[in-house]
């Protein structure tokens, strides 16, 4: 059953030092900034964070990085035009990085929520990111064996929740929310508004309430507060 909390800090609940925390978002889109602010306030340290990026600008995930609360980050795209806090920590050897191709990251998170023990993916085969990993040829194609990524808690930003915990998202801010909500032992969601159960069309529910432990309404979109996080790597490659 989903609990509706009054504040982000209350929604967050207890997060011990050393926890593994999934944080939704693709850059700023879908990043649960208010929940991350609450995580900063709550104070746990030595965290392992699973997120697509490693922070943009100075707010949200970037702030958590800056404060040194993160021991290790599992992500696909840490280096961006405005990832200066991550860059500094990484160069100082103060944060460990597990770099995972974005689709493998998504599928590993999905596997955790779906009870899959491991899976063979073609992505990364023959590249440095598959070094030391088990491989197998299946029907003439080469695959790498990848394992699920579980988490103690997932912090997710959705657009709207009903009181049964059902979620809908907004546009590309959906990104990692649905799969992280299913992969973590406990899922905390910030939304713009909470509506009565029955107000969301059952055909249009994206994340069923079973995956949602706590919801907090934080008002309108917050992404504008942050940097844009536009990618730069392919400017070089182009």
């Amino acid at each position: 059953m989903t609990r509706i909390s009054e504040t982000a800090l209350e929604a967050l609940g207890e997060i011990p030092d050393g926890s593994t925390v999934m944080i939704g978002g693709f850059g700023s889109a879908g990043q649960p900034v208010e929940l991350i602010d609450a995580l900063v306030e709550a104070g746990p340290t030595g965290l392992t964070v699973v997120s697509n990026n490693a922070g943009n600008g100075d707010l949200g995930l970037a702030h958590l990085v800056e404060l040194g609360r993160i021991r290790k980050i599992v992500c696909s795209f840490p280096r961006q035009a405005d990832s200066w806090h991550f860059d500094a920590k990484y160069r100082a050897g103060e944060i460990e990085l597990e770099l995972v191709p974005q689709g493998n990251l998504a599928e590993r998170i999905r596997a955790a929520g779906a009870g899959i023990g491991a899976f063979y993916t073609p992505t990364g085969y023959g590249t440095p990111l598959a070094e030391g990993k088990e491989t197998r040829e299946i029907d003439g194609k080469n695959y790498v064996l990848e394992y699920p990524i579980h988490a103690d808690v997932a912090l997710v930003k959705a657009h709207r929740a009903d009181t049964a915990g059902n979620l809908v998202y907004r546009k590309t801010a959906r990104n990692f929310g649905p799969i992280m909500a299913a992969a973590a032992r406990r899922t905390v969601v910030q939304v713009s508004e909470v509506v009565p159960a029955g107000s969301i069309d059952p055909e249009a529910v994206v994340t069923p309430g079973i995956y949602v432990d706590t919801v907090v309404a934080v008002g309108g979109s917050t992404a504008l507060r942050q940097g844009t996080g536009e990618a730069t790597w392919q400017e070089v490659a182009g």
């Binding site: 840490p78 023959g126 400017e235 070089v236």
Partner: protein
């Protein structure tokens, strides 16, 4: 269409790529240079753009009041939504890519080998902070992976090579290279005894000049 004796500009190159995208295709344009291709897709050809952060039916970049921080492309640039668009989560989006449902993916590259290996995610510099994003998924997922790049580095070194020196993004995944100097087919689709790299078209250089520039023996795509 192409001025004889001249290398293609970025925009001409984008137009050349766009010309080869089949009507009705589902296409991913990666990030950076290849996104220029979208400016050259003629209306009415029913081409649908996929962005791996979770959308089909992506429209042009958003400007002014249309900018919505919840609607961005894979490069995190604000974009717009076309009629018939749909949104989905990351696992579904990469399932769509990995499952071979995207007809064409166009990527930038540091290096492409004649056998179709791609290096486009890491310069290999020891002090660089690595980042891969969806590059490896895109490289191996689409039915056809095309590379769009300058054929030489700023220093004049070939980027189409016998064997990639940089860390790989994918193995034998590129089928065609579109560059300022030539369009070249690469990879294992060549018949027995054929060259791995076959020139489709050159821009302002002869076949022999191209071979000289690249230090490679090149076949011809038409035979």
């Amino acid at each position: 269409m192409t001025a004889v004796g001249q290398h293609l500009s970025k925009d001409q190159l984008a137009a050349r790529v766009a010309r080869d995208i089949p009507a009705g295709a589902y296409v991913n344009l990666g990030i950076g240079l290849p996104t220029l291709v979208s400016d050259h897709l003629p209306a009415g050809r029913g081409i649908t753009l996929h962005t791996e952060n979770g959308m089909l039916g992506m429209g042009p970049a958003a400007t002014g009041a249309d900018v919505d921080p919840d609607l961005v492309n894979a490069g995190k640039v604000p974009v717009t939504e076309l009629s018939g668009a749909s949104y989905f989560h990351q696992a579904d989006s990469f399932a769509m890519m990995r499952g071979g449902h995207i007809d064409v993916c166009v990527l930038g590259a540091f290096e492409v080998s004649v056998s179709g290996d791609l290096a486009n995610w890491s310069t290999g510099a020891p002090d660089a902070i690595p980042a891969v994003g969806g590059a490896m998924d895109l490289a191996v997922g689409a039915r056809d992976t095309w590379v769009m790049m300058n054929l030489l580095t700023k220093g004049g070194a070939p980027k189409l090579v016998e064997r990639c020196a940089l860390p790989l993004t994918g193995v034998a995944c590129v089928s065609r290279v579109y560059s300022d100097l030539a369009v070249v087919d690469v990879g294992p689709d060549a018949g027995p005894g054929q060259h791995l790299a076959r020139v489709v078209e050159t821009f302002g250089v002869t076949h022999a000049e191209l071979e000289d520039l690249l230090g490679l023996e090149l076949g011809r795509a038409d035979g």
